[in-house]
Symmetry: C2
Subunit: 143 residues, 2 copies
DNA sequence: GATAATCGTCAGAGAATCTTACCATTCCGG
DNA sequence: CCGGAATGGTAAGATTCTCTGACGATTATC
């Protein structure tokens, strides 16, 4: 790779951040969260989300999403409740332990972004974020 | 995810690009290349690289790298040759078919970057690439 | 030369993912 | 309002990717 493409450069930085967050969570007493579970859990809130939507957003099949949610549920991070508007569906929402781990993950997320800002300067960091957010319009079908 | 972090935004764009490249390769007659194989193959050249270095750069264990190189070798994309400077080692280098697929991947890579540039404008695209390249200094241990 | 480090492989296991098929519920056109 | 199509989710099974631990061969170090 003489000149890594823009996309590969994104991957390098992303994976660095992801790994540091998972390691940090392990140190914080959440050692049972895997990377794949984290990608799912990051998309949940207390509001609840259907499995189908979750799977679309996370870009996996609903079977895969269900598999990971099963594990998160068994570990006490999420819970499934009936969807009042549709008896076929259930809403997946963060349990208290899930909120804890999400708060903890955000701590490291902010720390990493602070490092990046120190390295790039505030203005370039803001531009970087803005450009990435704009790219989402043409790269994220589930925006 | 109310406000996706910078890292997650990187992942979204990266995955979009990666998927489009793999799909494009499949249409181009390279339907046997998987995503994981592609991440390995992207780092190779005709010069040859040791398995250990390849594994470090791709951020996988050398067993995993070996597993993927076995498949790439069986499919004719790469070949292993003795390392003249060390009898323990072998160099993994692109075979002719590997060079073909890499050229093809670069076509789509450039196409995607052109789309991004149309969306952001030339200046912001250049800034994005430069910032990502700078971040690599603090995010990529194998730079 | 003896010892330690490095390069790669083998064996075995676990995690994540997919495809195909299916049931239950809801939506919709006639 | 009824019957077919669509949607939400699960089940079963296979495949792919990845890791840990152990090991033989070669090289580097003292």
């Amino acid at each position: 790779m003489p000149q890594p493409s823009t996309a590969v450069l994104m991957f390098v930085a992303y994976r660095h951040a992801e790994k540091r967050i998972v390691d940090f969570l392990a140190e914080s007493g959440f050692g049972d969260i895997t990377l794949a579970q984290g990608r799912i859990a990051a998309r949940l809130s207390e509001d609840g989300l259907r499995l189908t939507e979750l799977a679309e957003q996370a870009q996996v099949t609903k079977q895969t999403a269900g598999f990971l949610v099963d594990q998160l549920e068994a570990a006490g991070y999420v819970e499934r409740v009936p969807d009042p508007s549709d008896a076929r569906a259930r809403l997946i929402r963060l349990a208290p332990r899930g909120r804890q781990v999400q708060r903890r993950a955000r701590v490291m997320e902010r720390r990493i972004e602070a490092e990046w800002e120190r390295h790039l300067g505030a203005e370039r960091m803001a531009d970087l974020h803005a450009s990435l957010a704009d790219l989402r319009e043409i790269t994220d079908p589930y925006r």
